[in-house]
Symmetry: C2
Subunit: 95 residues, 2 copies
C-alpha cells in the first residue's frame, strides 16, 4: 500500500468510526422523540449531553491528528445539534 | 515517505496529542493538591471527571482508529487515575 492509500484508508476508517458514534446519539434522540407522548426520562438530557461532549472530543482529536478535515468533523456535529434542538423544542412544547 | 514511516509519524503525533491532554489534567490535579491547605473548590471534582471522560473517549478512538495500541492508551489513563486517587485521598483526609 502506498502512503497516500494508507492515509486515505486511515481517514476513511476514522470518519466511519465517528459516524458510527454519531449514529448511536442519533438513535438516542429518535427513541426519546418516539417517547414524547409517554413519559420524559429526566436522565435523558444528561446522557445526551455527555455523549455529545464525548463525540466532540473524538472529532476534535481526529482533526488535530490529521485524520479528518475540520469541515467533515463540523458537519457531523452540526447535524446532530440540529436534531437535538428539535428534540428539546418538542419536549418544551409538551410541558 | 513510505507507508510505514507515515504510520509511525501519525501514531507518534496521536500519542503526543493524547499525552498533551493528559498533561493538562495532571496540571489540574497538581494545582488542586497545592491548594489543599487553602480552600477546596467544589467544582474541581466535576471538572476533573469531565476531563478524564473526554480523554478516555479520545484514547478509545485512537485505539479503534489503529493509531495507538491498547497498552499505550491504558498506560496514560492508569497513571492519571493513580494521581486522581491520591488527590481524593488527600481531600478526604483534610475533611
Amino acid at each position: 500500500m502506498s502512503s497516500s492509500e494508507l492515509l486515505l484508508s486511515l481517514s476513511q476508517k476514522a470518519l466511519h468510526l465517528l459516524q458510527e458514534d454519531a449514529d448511536k446519539i442519533e438513535k438516542l434522540i429518535e427513541v426519546q422523540m418516539e417517547n414524547l407522548t409517554t413519559r420524559k426520562c429526566p436522565l435523558y438530557e444528561e446522557v445526551l449531553d455527555t455523549q455529545m461532549y464525548g463525540l466532540s472530543r473524538e472529532i476534535d482529536f481526529a482533526i488535530r491528528a490529521d485524520l479528518i478535515n475540520e469541515a467533515a468533523g463540523k458537519l457531523i456535529l452540526v447535524k446532530l445539534e440540529r436534531n437535538l434542538a428539535e428534540l428539546y423544542e418538542a419536549l418544551n412544547k409538551k410541558e
